[in-house]
């Protein structure tokens, strides 16, 4: 049997997170009902998803620039995903790990400079 007691901190963390997020959702709802600002209109009741109507033909056209922004977002978001494990294991990887990550970041900056200079970040 796996000893689960060492995972108690994460359990507490999840329980608190669940409680907090539930409070954030239900507390405003309750308050608005009690204070009388509860006034559901058609626009308020529609689903919100990235600004697009959620239930529609998925073959609608959208600006290709959304796609470019999404790709750039993924690149720099992944960078952050690499930074987290690197940061917590720096005591193991030492200077070699630090220098490697700096080289990686430097290469990303060059890519960023390229994207910026060629106008990929401008909307117009």
């Amino acid at each position: 049997m796996v000893d689960l007691s060492q995972y108690l901190p994460i359990l507490i963390f999840l329980a608190i997170a669940l409680a907090m997020s539930a409070a954030f959702v239900f507390l405003p709802m309750g308050v608005s009902r009690l204070t009388g600002t509860h006034n559901p209109t058609a626009n308020k009741l529609t689903e919100y998803e990235c600004g697009f109507p959620a239930f529609e033909d998925s073959r609608s056209q959208f600006d290709v620039r959304f796609y470019l922004v999404a790709i750039l977002f993924i690149i720099f978001d992944l960078e952050a995903a690499f930074l987290f494990p690197w940061a917590v294991s720096l005591d193991l990887t030492g200077w070699a790990g630090w220098v490697t990550m700096m080289i990686f970041l430097f290469e990303l900056i060059i890519g960023f400079a390229y994207a910026w200079k060629t106008g990929a970040l401008e909307w117009e």
Partner: protein, 487 residues
């Protein structure tokens, strides 16, 4: 781990990566105007990387090669010879490129940049001795290739080629990754050196599936049958200089990578993977020969020809011996020259407005309008068909010799039979160029760069190439021995 030594051993890749980063900045700030400069610098970078690689090869201190980064990467004669082929093919492809885009098609500095990054990836592929390094190298070169395939954005066929290549390439990468995960799961390591002893004795079903999936993913990358279906479409749709690149450098890289992983990592399970390779080799030879017969587009025909040639190269690998690996490398070198030469000759076929000519009917009677191009193209075709005294014959000869020595006479016999079928369509092109009524379509002029590449490759495949037989054979033997020295 000695970092200075590791960086030194990965010199060609480090040099090309730094060049690639500088080219990125030049592309960003120079814009369209910097395209020529960027091409020249990229050729310079590839020449530099070739010099570093050649220096490793002739340096007696590296006779046995060396491991870098704790066994993730290995510099040895096999990797160096493959890299030299890759870089030389890259140089040949780059110097014929700008002219192609002169005619209203946008040439951008990103093109040579992508070729440089693809070369970094391919260098990693052939030197990888760990599944992780292999995958990173493979993806770097594949992602660059996807963009290159759709480089002429305004052309529908090019966009289709890029998309098709991307979707199928991603699928193949997925298959490869799945296989790798099984191999890792059953051997407990991603390092070739550790996988080899772990796969000793009888192979379990799960591990066998891992090996098969890895081979399937790799077969896609080298466009071996039954994973060849993307090749004709991509070769036809991609801009011709890109097709030239695809049929040379990435092929060398993928085949060298396959050889290293099968002979090193799966070396104890030769019976398992040899069956797969033998099937892929025979199927490629036959499908490549039969598929080309009905084609009317020269690029499509050459795509089938490359499938056919991959089959012959795989016959060398299927023997699983050092002699077979050496024969494979000799064939690869000759194949690169033949492929480069034929595609450059196709690039030189222009009508009076300078547009590319790709239809077989349009090259009728080419020998009268453009005797030199016709002569070189005919030499390439006859060499691809394996007709002596051209050098292509020697490549086939060493491969079949290795197969016979490894007691695979049937394999060699089927290969020879298929090469006779293949000779039909190669000879058909020669017949169209020399004996048909002139169509007088091809009248455009060509520049020095095209003539240089065509002349060099034509001299290589001509009987003069046999002068290189002894040094090239010795080099290939040394490279093949390096693969078997690891054990």
């Amino acid at each position: 781990m000695d970092y200075a030594n590791s960086l030194y051993l990965t010199g060609p890749e480090v040099f090309l990566s730094v060049s690639g980063l500088i080219l990125t900045l030049i592309a960003a700030w120079g814009g369209q105007k910097a395209a020529r400069l960027s091409t020249i610098l990229a050729v310079g970078a590839l020449v530099g990387a070739s010099i570093i690689t050649a220096a490793f090869l002739i340096n007696p201190a590296f006779e046995q090669g060396g491991d870098a980064f704790g066994g993730l990467y290995r510099m040895d004669a096999f990797g160096s010879v493959s890299k030299l082929l890759i870089y030389l093919a890259g140089i040949g492809c780059l110097i014929v490129t700008p002219r192609f885009f002169d005619k209203g098609l946008e040439y951008r500095p990103e093109y040579p940049l992508l070729v440089v990054f693809a070369s970094v990836g391919m260098g990693m592929m052939v030197s990888a001795t760990d599944l992780m390094t292999l995958y990173i190298g493979l993806e770097l070169s594949s992602l660059s290739s996807y963009v290159l395939a759709s480089f002429t954005r305004s052309d529908d066929r090019s966009a289709e080629a890029g998309l098709k290549y991307f979707v199928l390439g991603a699928l193949a990468s997925g298959i490869l990754l799945y296989g790798m995960s099984l191999v890792y799961g059953f051997s407990g390591s991603t390092s070739y050196l550790a996988i080899r002893p772990a796969f000793e004795g009888t192979l379990g079903t799960g591990a066998l599936f891992g090996v098969i999936f890895v081979l399937a993913g790799l077969a896609f990358k080298i466009s071996a049958v039954p994973f060849h279906m993307w090749t004709p479409d991509v070769y036809e749709g991609a801009p011709t200089p890109v097709t030239t690149f695809f049929s040379t450098a990435p092929k060398v890289a993928a085949i060298a990578m396959t050889a290293r992983i099968t002979l090193d990592a799966f070396g104890n399970q030769a019976d398992a993977w040899r069956q797969v390779i033998i099937f892929a080799a025979l199927a490629s030879v036959v499908v490549g020969a039969l598929g080309a017969i009905g084609q009317s587009n020269i690029k499509r025909l050459l795509a089938y020809s490359s499938i056919n040639n991959v089959g012959f190269i795989l016959i060398g690998l299927a023997t699983g011996t050092a002699a077979g690996a050496s024969a494979m490398l000799v064939y690869l070198a000759i194949y690169v020259a033949m492929s480069l030469g034929s595609f450059v000759a196709v690039l030189m076929l222009r009508d009076k407005d300078g547009n590319q000519v790709e239809n077989m009917a349009d090259i009728a009677g080419l020998s009268r309008a453009k005797p030199m191009i016709a002569l070189c193209l005919a030499a390439m075709m006859l060499s691809l068909a394996g007709i002596p005294p051209l050098y292509g014959f020697w490549g086939k000869f060493v491969v079949f010799q290795a197969a016979v020595e490894a007691d695979m006479v049937v394999l060699a016999a089927i290969g020879i039979a298929a090469s006779v079928i293949g000779a039909f369509y190669y000879l058909k092109i020669v017949k169209i160029m020399y004996f048909d009524e002139p169509a007088n379509v091809v009248t455009g002029k060509n520049d020095l760069a095209h003539w240089t590449v065509l002349a060099v490759t034509a001299i290589f495949v001509s009987p003069l190439g046999y002068l290189l037989t002894i040094p090239m054979g010795a080099l290939a033997d040394r490279a093949a021995a390096a693969l078997f020295a690891v054990v």
